[in-house]
């Protein structure tokens, strides 16, 4: 029997040892789905003779959960949105950027050089920016109002299935905007009112679920829903890839206001290969690569140097919102401490009822 015990022990040892990797020459990129041009990855792999391993997330809560469940030591680059940046910095999940290794950082437009969520780019460098808006089926709503009422007002949409955003902060923000408190509302009173509206809304017969931004486009194309929330670039990207299915699907920025976001590249605190991560960030900040990225995924570039190389479609709505719409865009507030906990409880309540 001792032989068997030994085999068991050996196998056990193998299991315990397995799992650790941090191999040289590998970059672990944790990014949103449908957000990276494969050719850029190939170019980077070729330039530095490395392999890029990509993993994807559909929402920021999902990203944060993976990161705190061990991902902090397994990814080299993450691409969170503005309102998660302070949270990541304060919980020590990310490391400061070494600006000496990022000569291309100066390519960023001024407003991205010193963003409110990360003064002085200490931890983050902008990747892309865009908007969250309402997508709807224009056959179902031929003269749909440019308004959140398409979701929240049962008189405007009494029977067509619609979905809200899986990320609670966006859904609550949308409800706040509809109620006239503005998309970036904070404070218990406004939130409570918004949560009530959401509970009433989700109990309507034609509410079909909380769906993340990218899948909601698929659902709309397949007729599962007729109104939902999504991102301008993904919308353009999908529409371009499958013009037939997306022929009747429109993207709009509600007049009550909605979200503008900036996704930034950050390096997790215990990244296996921070040096390569810096190289990657600098690579993306390159003028031509930055333009190639935007041309591929239809999001606005934060890169001033990239401008000459950008496709024309990127200078028009919905990629570049009109000036009027620009004035309606807000950042999602970054929450912490008591505020975050209150918010979580309200969102939990919305989901449970």
């Amino acid at each position: 029997m001792t032989t068997i015990t030994r085999i068991v022990a050996a196998l056990g040892g193998l299991v315990l040892a397995g799992g650790a990797h941090a191999e040289e020459g590998k970059l672990y990129l944790f990014n949103w789905t449908e957000y990276m041009d494969p050719e850029i990855i190939e170019a980077f792999e070729e330039k530095y003779n490395v392999e890029v391993v990509q993993n994807y997330f559909n929402s920021l809560p999902e990203m944060l959960a993976k990161l705190s469940a061990g991902g902090v030591s397994q990814y080299d680059i993450i691409v969170p949105s503005n309102y998660y940046v302070p949270r990541l910095i304060e919980t020590g999940l990310v490391q400061p950027l070494d600006h000496a290794k990022l000569p291309n950082l100066g390519n960023l437009k001024d407003q991205f050089r010193d963003p409110s969520f990360d003064p002085g780019n200490e931890y983050s460098a902008a990747y892309q920016w865009g908007t969250t808006g309402v997508i709807y089926n224009s056959e179902t709503f031929p003269d749909g109002p440019k308004s959140w009422s398409l979701m929240f007002d049962p008189d405007v949409n009494s029977s067509y299935p619609f979905a809200l955003m899986g990320d609670g902060q966006v859904s609550i923000g949308a409800a706040c905007a509809h109620l006239g408190h503005g998309y970036d509302c904070t404070g218990v009173d406004a939130w409570k009112e918004a949560a009530k509206l959401l509970i009433d809304t989700k109990n309507r017969g034609n509410f079909s679920g909380f769906v993340d931004g990218t899948p909601s486009l698929q659902q709309l194309a397949r007729g599962v829903t007729h109104v939902a929330l999504s991102y301008n670039g993904d919308y353009m990207n999908f529409k371009n890839e499958d013009p037939e299915s997306f022929a009747n699907i429109e993207f709009m920025i509600p007049d009550e206001g909605t979200e503008m976001w900036v996704d930034s590249m950050m390096i997790p605190a215990e990244a296996p290969n921070p040096d390569l991560a810096h190289k990657f960030i600098d690579f993306i900040l390159d003028a031509e690569i930055g333009a190639q990225l935007s041309n591929y995924n239809y999001y606005s570039s934060p890169n001033a140097a990239a401008e000459p190389y950008l496709d024309e479609v990127l200078t028009k709505p919905p990629v570049q919102p009109t000036e009027e719409d620009m004035a309606r865009l807000r950042f999602t507030p970054s929450l912490k401490g008591q505020e975050l906990q209150t918010f979580s409880q309200l969102w939990n309540e919305v989901q449970a009822r």
């Binding site: 809560p61 304060e90 409570k192 509410f207 599962v224 912490k336 975050l340 409880q345 939990n348 449970a352």
Partner: protein
């Protein structure tokens, strides 16, 4: 141990104990280290405080249990109670429905020719060999808006126009019944196969009505199988995560989702751990109750799964 070994008995006891340790220890230690300790750790987390970004931290408190009961910064709210009641209701409903379907099926298999029985049992069990996520995905396909089933339900006025049967609480119940049916059929089949036909015959002579004959002779004999099946169905159904998440569409949240959410989006590990403790208590109460009832009915060993 035979009598001839008496002389070496004392040495024998020692080596027997060593034998026991050697054979049982690797597995026992494995389960203790990789399951008992983690569970204890999780329970400890439930008594910690939620940090500013959701991570568990000192000091110890009962805050998470208060939150689970619905007491938050904004006073009491019924959300978690809804979730709990929904979990209980879905468990009860799906277990009853599973029994209603499984009972005749298990009986039917025993009435068929012996050579067919293994094949029939296999036919019932095989779908459960595919992954839970795939099975649930199959129902998403079947119940989505625009599918024949949804169109039929619309025509009958069961659901609003333009809507599908999924996502809904109905879809969750259906998914649960589908998922757990084999767990009920197998123990019931075992019970039916052992049915004492002489007793049934006697009952048929005694009671004119077949219903009464069934109730007095057949039903009590299948009770152990029924109880075993109930345990196998109800406990995992109560903690279900995948089905409400995929088929409920934000309307069918159950306790499993509440717990999982606290470790993902909302990031409140202590609250999630408190929910897990609630689930554990429910599990052990359920097991204990089944055991007690089983013993009283004289089911004996079989009831103890």
């Amino acid at each position: 141990m035979t009598e001839t070994n008496m002389a070496v008995r004392s040495r024998g006891v020692v080596s027997e104990t060593r034998h026991l340790l050697f054979s049982v220890m690797p597995g026992a230690v494995w389960i203790i280290v990789f399951l008992v300790l983690p569970s204890i750790y999780l329970m400890a987390v439930a008594f910690m405080t939620n940090g500013p970004y959701g991570q568990p931290q000192m000091p110890l408190s009962l805050e998470s249990f208060r939150q689970l009961a619905g007491f938050g910064f904004l006073g009491w709210s019924p959300g978690n109670l809804y979730t709990l009641l929904r979990s209980l209701w879905q468990t009860l409903l799906s277990t009853v429905l599973v029994v209603i379907v499984a009972y005749p099926i298990a009986y039917y298999i025993t009435t068929c020719r012996e050579k067919w029985r293994p094949i029939m049992l296999l036919a019932v069990v095989v779908p459960s060999w595919t992954n839970q996520v795939i099975r649930t995905f199959g129902w998403m396909n079947l119940l989505a808006p625009g599918t024949p089933l949804s169109d039929a339900a619309q025509a009958l006025g069961l659901i609003a126009p333009n809507m599908g049967l999924y996502p809904s609480n109905f879809a969750v119940t259906l998914g649960l019944v589908y998922n757990f049916l084999p767990f009920m059929v197998l123990p019931l089949y075992a019970a039916f196969e052992k049915l004492d036909t002489a007793q049934v015959q006697a009952a048929q002579d005694l009671y004119a009505a077949p219903v009464r004959a069934f109730w007095h002779a057949v039903f009590p004999q299948t009770l152990p199988g029924l109880l075993a099946g109930t345990v196998l169905v109800a406990i995992p159904a109560f903690g279900m995560y995948v089905i409400p998440e995929l088929l409920g569409g934000g309307k069918g949240m159950m306790l499993g989702n509440l717990v999982a959410n606290q470790f993902a989006g909302s990031a409140n590990w202590p609250l999630g751990a408190a929910g897990a403790i609630l689930m554990l208590i429910a599990t052990f109460v359920g097991l204990y109750a089944m055991r007690r009832i089983g013993k009283r009915l004289g089911g004996g060993e079989e009831v103890v799964i």
